[in-house]
C-alpha cells in the first residue's frame, strides 16, 4: 500500500515537473481511463468515459429524478477541511450544498480506501438500492474530482449495471437547479475513522 502511494507520488511529481504541457491529464480532453482505480491527486481533469457506466449531465439527471424509477443519488465529495491552525473561537460553519435527496458519503472514492470503509460503502449502496444491482445509481462529487469516478467504478466492478457517473457534480447541478444542504450519511459517519492525509 505504502509502496503504491510512493510510486503514485513520484509519478505525480514527474508529471508536474517535466511534462506540464504534453501530459494528457493536463488537458480537459483526452484523459485516458486508468486501468484500475485512480490513485493520483483527487482534483484534476477526469476522463470523458467510464466503462460499464453511463456518463450523464444535469438535465439527464433531472429527467431521471422526475421519472418513475427514482435513482439512488450518491455524493462522495470531501467535506470542507477545517485548517488545523484555525483560530479557536472563530466562526467555522461549513455547509455542503448538493443534489436534493442525495446520500453523502464523503471520500468513498478515495484510493486507497480502508477495507472497512470500502465494505461499508458496498453495504450502504446495497441497502439503498434494495439489493437490486440494476437499480439506477448516480455517483457524483464536484467538477474535476476523481472521487466520483472511482466510486462509480467500484460499483461497476461490484456488478451494478445501472451506474450513472455525473462528472460535473454539484457545480453542474447548481447551474440550473436548487440545491439542498446535506449532512453526512449517519451510517457512514458512524463508521468513520480518520483517513490518512485527509
Amino acid at each position: 500500500m505504502r509502496r503504491t502511494r510512493m510510486i503514485g507520488r513520484v509519478a505525480a511529481l514527474l508529471a508536474a515537473t517535466c511534462c506540464l504541457a504534453a501530459a494528457p491529464a493536463d488537458s480537459p480532453v483526452n484523459v485516458p481511463e486508468p486501468d484500475g482505480l485512480y490513485a493520483g491527486p483527487p482534483k484534476g481533469y477526469t476522463p470523458q468515459t467510464l466503462q460499464g457506466a453511463a456518463v450523464i449531465d444535469a438535465d439527464t439527471l433531472a429527467g431521471l429524478m422526475a421519472g418513475p424509477d427514482k435513482p439512488v443519488l450518491i455524493d462522495v465529495a470531501a467535506p470542507d477541511r477545517k485548517p488545523s491552525n484555525f483560530p479557536e473561537g472563530r466562526l467555522w460553519l461549513p455547509v455542503h450544498p448538493s443534489v436534493p435527496g442525495a446520500v453523502w458519503m464523503p471520500e468513498a472514492g478515495a484510493e486507497p480506501l480502508a477495507p472497512a470503509r470500502e465494505a461499508l460503502f458496498y453495504a450502504r449502496v446495497a441497502e439503498l438500492t434494495g439489493d437490486d444491482r440494476a437499480k439506477p445509481v448516480v455517483v457524483f462529487c464536484h467538477v474535476e474530482c476523481w472521487g466520483s469516478w472511482n466510486a462509480a467504478k467500484r460499483l461497476v466492478r461490484k456488478g451494478y449495471t445501472g451506474v450513472r457517473w455525473f462528472p460535473t457534480g454539484v457545480e453542474g447541478w447548481q447551474e440550473a437547479h436548487e440545491t439542498a444542504n446535506l449532512r453526512v450519511d449517519p451510517a457512514w459517519a458512524a463508521g468513520s475513522e480518520p483517513q490518512a492525509g485527509r
Partner: protein, 277 residues
C-alpha cells in the same frame, strides 16, 4: 473623482443588463421568499449574525451600504467586491460576511479620522453559491445590513497553481497606487500586498498535504498619526490582497502595518502625490 463616476456608470450598465435578462435566458426563478433554500439561507444568516453581533438589532438598509459583486464570478478564488457607503461621515465600521463560506466572517474594516469610506474594494474567495452581507456600524452605534447573492464555488480550496515556496516569495512586499489628488478632496489609493493568504483548505496537489492557513489577520493604514482604517482579515480574503480605499491627505506619508496569523510583521511607508489643479 472621475473614477467613481465611471464605476457608477458601469454598475448601472450591469443593473440594466441584469434586468434585461428575461425570457429564455432568465436565471432560474427563485420563488419570492418562499422556497426552502431561501428559508435555509435566512436561518443561516440569523445564526451567523447572532454569533458575530450578539443580540444587537440589525436594520436593513438600501442607502448606508451597498454591495457590488459579479452575479456570476469568473474566478471563485478572486471575486471582486465593492462596498459603497455614500454617507461616509456616518460610517464607523463595515463587516463583510460570506454566509456560505466555511469561515463566513471575511473581513472587518474600522475607519479612523483620516478615512473616507465612501467606497472600499477588495477581493475574496467564495466557496458556495451564497448570500453576502455587509453590515455597517454608524457613528451612533447602530447596525445596518445589505445583501447580495453571488454565484461562485470552490474558491476556498482552489490550489494556487504554484508551489507554496513560489507563492510565498516576497511575502509582505507592498505597493501603493494613488489616484490624482485635488486640493481639499479625499485621495483614492490602491494597496497591493504580496501574501499567499493560504486558506488552510488548499491541498498541495503534488505532496497531497494541506498547506497550513497563513493569512493577513491585521492591517492598519494611517496618515501620519491619524488612522485611515484597520482591517481584521480572514482566510476568505483572496491571495495577494488588493484593497482600494480613500483617505483625507494631510501631506504626511501613508503608513501600512500588516501582520499575519503566523507571526509575520511588515511595515511600509508611501508618499502620496501633492494636490494639483
Amino acid at each position: 473623482m472621475t473614477h467613481r463616476i465611471g464605476n457608477t456608470v458601469i454598475a448601472l450598465g450591469v443593473a440594466l443588463a441584469t434586468t434585461a435578462l428575461s425570457g429564455p435566458f432568465a436565471p432560474p426563478a427563485r420563488a419570492a421568499g418562499a422556497s426552502d433554500t431561501d428559508q435555509e439561507r435566512a436561518a443561516r444568516w440569523q445564526e451567523i449574525a447572532k454569533s458575530i453581533f450578539g443580540d444587537r438589532q440589525i436594520a436593513p438598509t438600501e442607502t448606508l451600504v451597498k454591495i457590488d459583486a459579479p452575479v456570476r464570478a469568473l474566478d471563485a478564488a478572486l471575486v471582486p467586491i465593492t462596498l459603497t457607503m455614500p454617507d461616509s461621515a456616518q460610517i464607523k465600521a463595515v463587516s463583510l460576511i460570506i454566509d456560505d463560506n466555511p469561515a463566513p466572517y471575511a473581513a472587518k474594516f474600522e475607519f479612523g479620522p483620516a478615512a473616507d469610506p465612501a467606497e472600499l474594494k477588495l477581493r475574496v474567495r467564495v466557496n458556495n453559491y451564497t448570500d453576502m452581507h455587509a453590515v455597517v456600524e454608524t457613528q451612533d452605534g447602530k447596525l445596518y445590513e445589505a445583501k447580495q447573492f453571488v454565484k461562485a464555488s470552490g474558491g476556498c480550496s482552489a490550489p494556487m497553481g504554484m508551489s507554496d515556496e513560489e507563492a510565498m516569495k516576497g511575502m509582505g512586499d507592498m505597493r501603493m497606487k494613488f489616484a490624482d489628488a485635488q486640493p481639499g478632496k479625499p485621495v483614492e489609493a490602491t494597496l497591493m500586498v504580496r501574501h499567499p493568504n493560504f486558506s488552510g483548505m488548499q491541498m498541495n496537489q503534488v505532496t497531497r498535504e494541506f498547506t497550513p492557513a497563513r493569512y493577513i489577520d491585521k492591517l492598519t493604514v494611517s496618515a501620519g498619526d491619524r488612522t485611515v482604517f484597520t482591517m481584521t482579515g480572514d482566510i476568505s480574503i483572496a491571495s495577494n490582497p488588493v484593497i482600494n480605499f480613500a483617505f483625507k491627505p494631510d501631506g504626511k506619508p501613508l503608513q501600512v502595518a500588516a501582520s499575519d496569523n503566523a507571526g509575520g510583521r511588515w511595515q511600509h511607508s508611501f508618499t502620496p502625490p501633492s494636490p494639483t489643479n
